[in-house]
Symmetry: C2
Subunit: 305 residues, 2 copies
């Protein structure tokens, strides 16, 4: 079982390289991450963007690395997004990484009913993975969904959980503990997220959401701190041990994830799952390291997509 981002990287260095398509490769941190992924034997790259600019960007890259990178010219953002998505649909690449293209443009290409990467019946959802270095026992935790699904219905929450559970399984955690988060740990009809949490928990008890152990509603403290769960006398196999934190809507997930980055300074990896290939949509403010870790994460899960 992969328990840390360093583990993730070192495992990703083994085995055959995968191929990563960068949509709009004229982006310094995306290219830096790509070069590093080649250097570390994780991936080869197919770079979609303006050829002239990409040749210029790669001028200083050593030939051993340069030879693992293929440039495919695209006149503009839309064409870069379309061509990168096409390569993914034709299985010429295993992961799609957003570079210098607008997120909306890329998602439109990914979600296109004809030429996109949708899988019938599957929801596209956002997986934010982080590592709390101060936990006694190391592990990787997931927050979902801070990036794609705005206000999930009950059915969509279940699909978000299935996507996150798939990622946990891919990293060797065969029975992840899933906390359905709210502001409180009691059912309160004035807080609909607590009601959804109760329903989802019961569905898991009845075997309707397999491959994981779910409990909710839990507040964040009960979900991640054994001590807080003990003080509040919460009896639960998930409380204090959550691997997957499911938030009620995009705002709370986004703030919680960004808080781990901007307040706690945790490292992270970040992937959108539910399409034919893992799609990496980093924030403009993300570092090259985050992008490299996200490529490594994608290498684990593309086979399950």
């Amino acid at each position: 079982m992969i328990r840390s981002l360093d583990d993730l990287l070192s495992h990703a260095r083994k085995g055959r390289r995968i191929r990563v398509a960068i949509a709009g490769a004229e982006n310094r941190s995306a290219l830096q991450a790509m070069v590093e992924a080649v250097r570390q034997n994780i991936a080869d790259g197919v770079l979609f963007g303006k050829e002239e600019r990409l040749v210029h960007f790669l001028a200083d890259v050593p030939e051993t690395i340069r030879s693992a990178l293929t440039i495919v010219h695209a006149d503009n953002e839309r064409e870069a997004a379309f061509k990168a998505v096409e390569a993914a649909r034709l299985k010429k690449v295993h992961i799609l990484l957003k570079g210098k293209v607008n997120t909306d443009v890329l998602l439109k290409a990914v979600l296109d009913g004809e030429s996109g990467l949708r899988i019938a019946g599957k929801l596209l959802s956002d997986i934010f993975m982080f590592e709390d270095p101060e936990r006694e026992k190391k592990k990787l935790m997931i927050i979902t969904d801070g990036g794609v699904v705005l206000k999930p219905t009950l059915a969509q929450k279940i699909q978000m959980i299935e996507n996150a559970v798939l990622v946990s399984h891919a990293l060797g955690n065969s029975n992840p503990k899933v906390a359905i988060l709210s502001a409180v740990e009691t059912i309160n009809s004035g807080i609909p997220s607590t009601v959804d949490a109760a329903i989802i928990t019961k569905m898991n008890h009845r075997g309707q959401i397999p491959g994981c152990t779910i409990d909710g509603p839990l507040a964040l403290d009960n979900a991640v701190s054994r001590e807080a769960a003990r003080i509040k006398r919460i009896r639960s196999r998930v409380a204090g041990h959550a691997d997957i934190l499911v938030c009620p809507e995009i705002e709370s997930a986004n703030m919680l994830a960004k808080s781990t980055t901007y307040f706690a300074h945790f490292r992270q990896a970040h992937v959108t799952v539910g399409a034919a290939v893992p799609v990496l949509i980093p924030s403009r403010a993300d570092s090259a390291e985050t992008k490299l870790l996200s490529i490594a994460l994608g290498k684990f899960i593309y086979k399950y997509c």
Copy 2:
């Protein structure tokens, strides 16, 4: 201007002691905080609870401190809450601290139309204050509302902001920067919190919400990190410098606040404002230090209530 929790404590040690009522004083960490508040010359205490148990609890407390603590017997939680609220209404105490009484019981007593502490036209809202020790320039930041208002309307959000601004003013920040948080920094009609943010920002521009500078929608990274705001090219006097973080509903505020405690390990103070006196409703898992800091915070703001 008070820029840190240590500043808050050292300023609170000066001047006349205030009187704190503990509703249900048979609570070890509340009493510890109270004893410490007496020792540091911050406050005297009026302890509402079972007399026999309280005498027992105080057996080891030195006489110099014991003499600053008054016990008022109450047979049960409800009576303790009611008597403590009554003392606050009659201005016999300046702050109300929840001890071993259920939050619902205390809030019911506080919100009672006849015997409670409501002020006509004022909203009761939750102020979570924290300090990020790694910021270049020290300051105290506020998150609201993770504890009281479940799903604020636009009008309630404005009252939440007014309450938080009052707290900032009390700490000497005469023009706090207020970020209205969402998951993104652009207006998106599919995310109602971005629409509210735009409206509130414009109301501030028109002078309808005075005493502060408001901007939103902002995502957490743009609100607190100058670097993230720069990369995203957000032109704003608030971005990267926010003093007050206004969340769209209780879940996101609660998770964000708990994340600063359980992931980032920041210290905190915590107060409910909008009633006739500051009401401190700590979580059961809160430390005595948090309760002491909350008493110190209450000492700054009771005059403004």
